[in-house]
Every structure is written in C-alpha cells, then in structure tokens.
C-alpha cells in the first residue's frame, strides 16, 4: 500500500513538474531562445523558401487539419488517421487539405524534431509491444495535453496561439492559398486540435483578412476569445463521446451561468452549432475514425464522419462571408432543441 501511495505521489509530482514546464516552450520561443524569433518580417504572401507549391488548379477552399493530442509528428500518423486524411481528400477533391501542421508547438516543431527529448518521442513512435507503447503513448498525450492547456490559458495562450497561427499561414501558403482570390479557410480540429484552431482564429483573421470557420470533431474547446473571430463553429459530436463533456467541466466559461463568456455569447449569436454524428466514441473502437464499426445505415463510422465533414465544408464554402448558417432539422442546437 505504501508503495502504491509513493508511486502515486511520484506520479503527481511528475505531472506537476510537466505542467510547470509546459509554458516554457512558448515563452522561450517568444524570447528567441531557440534561435528563431517570431517572424514578423517575412514578405507578405510569400511561402517560406523552398516550400512553394507546384502549379495546380485553384482550390475552392482550404481545410487545415489539426489532429488530437496523440500526435507525435505529421509523419507518424496512425493507420486510422492516414485513412481519414485520404478519405477526406477523396471526398473534397476541389479543396486543398492541409495536413502538415503540428499544432502542439508554437513554432510547429514536431516532437521527433530538433528537441532535447526528441530521442524519447522517436522511441515512442518506433517501439513495439503493447504495454510499452501504451505507457509512452500516454506520455505523448500528457505532453500535448499540457500544450492544449497553454493554448487555453489567458496568460500564455495569446503567444502560443499566435505562433500556431503563423505555422498555419505558412502551411496555407505552401498549399497554394491564393491571396488574389481568397477562398474560405476552414480549420478542422480533432479533439484538442479544435481548441488550438479557435485560439489561433484571431491571428488567422488578421493575417488572411477574413474570418476562418472551425469544424470541431469531438472537439474540446474553452471559452476562448478566438470565438469572436470565427465565421462559424460546427461541432461534430458522437453520442458516445464523453470527452468534450468531461472537458467542459474544467472550463467555467462554458457553463450556462457564465452568461457573458465568449462561448455563451457565440451561442446566443448562433455561431455555434452541434451536429450529432450518431453513436460514436471519441477514439479507438467505435470512434469517429473506426472503419469497422457501422451505423444503422450500414456505413462505417469513418465514412459517416467524412461525409458529415464534407457536407459542412461545402456548406461553409458556399455561404457568403459574414452570412449565417441556416438551421437544418437534424441539427441539434447547444440548448438541446432539435
């Protein structure tokens, strides 16, 4: 019993230490300690050198995808994530899907990149064996969860979100975002990625000159000031997904009593909609990206998720700037009305 107690104490201390160190990356990046300061001098509209996009037909919209907190780097995706991305590309051939943004670093540096603990995260992505992988996967989750919390924090969040917005703008430019004929920019965030989409929205708006929209897939979002900079926020929510509801417990701005919070104001303005995706869980078996689990229509969860995203993307891309989304009968509003 003593050993269990000691192990729990040690674990809690480690967690507290990880939490205390979490803002360091953002603050050190802002201070220029990593050798590259926030770049406010790059010529407007130019892609970073060597990252120009080859000539292609002008896409109708850009979908920037930010995945969940289990992300190690943009090159180490799970099979389900890879299938999801390719299905999304297939469903949206006229849109550019930007999937090379690592959202859990203010300067987009993947965990396996140029970092002190890169060896650990590389080992995580290469290790075999269920227990070891499970244990270390949780280390990745905890590390990225802390960055998610940095994004929600009113002290560190502005710096972090500014950095991620800059990374997203760079990625948009690489993927042929055309300043001459701007198309809608839709930020698609899965789980914790949704919060980072919302946090980065004010800076995206300032940089591209129009409000982005966010589609949150099982998204955990705080009452972030970025909600004011969104054209619309569509929450795709599975009936068996408890994660967003659990997350909401820790963000008092989401509670109905916080009448004047950014979240509740956005709700009243009709800028937040919730679409129920069916009996989907947050992740794994029965999750949004599961290709085995089927809904009543016989479609796999992955197919349903992609179809719903496609529908929402087309709806947003067609709607006028500053316009409002029409209500549909099968959509559930946040206040529970059907």
């Amino acid at each position: 019993m003593t050993l269990v107690w000691q192990a729990m104490t040690f674990g809690l201390l480690l967690l507290a230490l990880a939490a205390l160190l979490a803002p360091y990356e953002s603050l050190a990046w802002w201070a220029g300690w990593f050798g590259h300061t926030p770049d406010a001098t790059r010529p407007a509209g130019s892609a970073p050198p060597g990252q120009e996009r080859p000539d292609r037909a002008e896409p109708q919209c850009h979908v920037v995808l930010l995945l969940g907190i289990n992300t190690v780097s943009v090159n180490t995706r799970s099979d389900a994530e890879r299938e999801f991305i390719s299905a999304l590309r297939e469903a949206l051939p006229d849109c550019e899907v930007v999937d090379d943004v690592f959202p859990y670093s203010p300067f987009g540096a993947p965990l396996t990149g140029d970092r002190l603990l890169a060896w650990l995260w590389r080992a995580v992505s290469q290790l075999g064996g269920r227990f070891a992988v499970g244990l270390l996967r949780n280390a990745v989750n905890i590390r990225n969860l802390m960055q998610f919390l940095v994004s929600t924090d009113s002290r560190y969040g502005p710096i972090y979100n500014f950095g991620v917005a800059q990374v997203m703008i760079d990625a948009l430019m690489r993927h042929g975002y055309s300043p001459g004929a701007p198309r809608p920019v839709i930020l698609l965030g899965y789980s914790g990625g949704a919060q980072i989409c919302v946090g980065a929205a004010p800076y995206m708006e300032a940089a591209i000159g129009r409000r982005p929209s966010v589609i949150a897939l099982g998204g955990v979002i705080s009452a972030d000031p970025g909600l004011d900079s969104l054209e619309t926020l569509v929450r795709l929510q599975g009936g068996r997904d408890r994660v967003p509801g659990f997350g909401a417990l820790f963000f008092p701005g989401l509670w109905p009593v916080a009448f004047y919070s950014y979240w509740n104001r956005a709700l009243r303005a009709g800028r937040i909609r919730t679409v129920v995706t069916g009996r989907m869980a947050h992740t794994g078996k029965g999750g949004y990206l599961d290709r085995e689990a089927r809904d009543v229509s016989g479609r796999s969860h992955l197919q349903t998720t992609v179809a719903l995203i496609e529908e929402e993307v087309r709806r947003i891309a067609d709607m006028p700037v500053n316009g409002r989304v029409r209500e549909r009968p099968h959509l559930r509003n946040e206040n529970g009305r059907h």
């Binding site: 803002p23 050190a28 926030p38 407007a44 002290r155 800076y203 940089a207 591209i208």
Partner: protein, 221 residues
C-alpha cells in the same frame, strides 16, 4: 544542515497556519513566532514574483536590471502587507476602543500569507489561474482567523475588519499604480509582456503583429 532545518520549520509553521492550527496562531497573536511569520511573508512574496522573473526573462532583461525589478516587486508586496497591517490595526483598535500591539498585528498579517508559499503552482497553465484565486481566498480566511485569535472579535466583525483592510490596500495600490508602472518601466524598459495576469492589450498587439504580415495580392510569388 541548519538551513534545511530552518526550511523544515518554516514549512511546518506555514502548513499549520494554513490549517488554522491554534498552536501557531495563538503564539503569533501573543507576539511570539514573529521572525518566522515575517520570513514566511518574504518567502510568499518571492514565490509571488516567480511569474515576474518569467516576464523579465522573455523580455531579455538580465543582470542588475532584472535584480532591481525583482527586488522592487518584493518591496511592493511587503509594503502592501505593512499597509494592510496598519489599516487593520486602526480598524481593530477602533472597534475594541483600545490600542492593540501593532507588531502582533503585523505578525498575524504576515502569517496569513502562508498559502502563497504554494504560489509557484499558479504558473501551471489554465488551472494555475484558479489555484491563484484559491490561494488568495485561503489567505483571506487565514487573515480573518488571525483577527479572531488576536482580538477576540466575532468572526463576522473580524471578516469586516479584514475586508476593510484589504479594500483600503487595493485602493492604495490603485492610487500608486501609475507611479509604480513608471518605476518598473525605468527598471526593465519597454516590455512586450507586462504581467503574468490577463493582459487584454497583448492579444491586440499580437493581432496587429499578425496583420503586419497580412497576405496581400501584390506579394503573390
């Protein structure tokens, strides 16, 4: 070794003070434990300015200027506590219609800062903000308890005395804030971030910075 013993004693007293243990509060009200109480107040002030050292670091302020700024921060915190003790001493003496021992009141106010010894955890993202509020509330509970122990007043009257002292201190801080800002500006120069508390100006600054790299058609490659 003596240093470690001192740290252990300090921590024990601070922890007991947080738990409103009479074995700590009664001696403090009787004029004992003053040295430890003042040390706790200084340590609490130190932990409260940990955030300030972050700000200095990311604004690339180092050396003598950084030390000056940190010392200024501690001095401001300690001055606020002395002012709070004075205000409460006046209030308590007026209610009781007899002068109390000023040094005992100062020790009570210093001991009431014990929860802020855990202030370093307010740096934790998101939850740290709530932790900070919790510590402030906890320190207020300690303060009211200290007033009850020292003066024997009813807890509601003690709460009013503590609130009056707290309110006066806040008003004083508000009045001298412009002068303090000028002083801080002279110490650390123009800062990108001024406070580890919510700074609405920061988001505006960053937005303008993002707009400075705004994508324009004429710049298309």
């Amino acid at each position: 070794m003596e240093f470690l013993d001192g740290v252990a004693t300090l921590w024990t007293v601070a922890w007991r003070a947080m738990l409103l243990d009479p074995s700590v509060w009664h001696p403090a009200a009787a004029g004992q434990l003053q040295a430890i109480a003042y040390t706790i107040a200084i340590v609490a002030a130190l932990f409260q300015i940990v955030g300030q050292s972050f700000i200095l670091a990311i604004n690339r302020v180092s050396g003598l200027r950084a030390l000056t700024s940190l010392a200024l921060g501690i001095a401001i915190n300690i001055s606020a506590l002395v002012f709070l003790a004075l205000a409460m001493w006046v209030a308590m003496s007026a209610v009781l219609e007899r002068p109390l021992d000023l040094l005992s009141t100062l020790a009570i106010v210093a001991l009431a800062q014990s929860p802020h010894v855990l202030g370093v955890f307010s740096l934790i993202p998101h939850f740290g903000l709530y932790w900070q509020r919790l510590l402030e509330a906890w320190a207020m509970v300690c303060l009211v308890h200290g007033v009850v122990v020292e003066s024997g007043l009813h807890v509601l009257v003690a709460a009013m005395v503590a609130l009056a002292g707290w309110g006066l201190t806040r008003a004083m801080e508000f009045a001298v804030r412009p002068a303090l800002r000028r002083l801080a500006h002279r110490a650390i120069g123009e800062a990108v971030l001024r406070s580890m508390r919510f700074d609405p100006a920061l988001a505006g600054k960053l937005k303008r910075r993002a707009a400075a790299v705004r994508i324009r058609p004429e710049a298309t490659p």
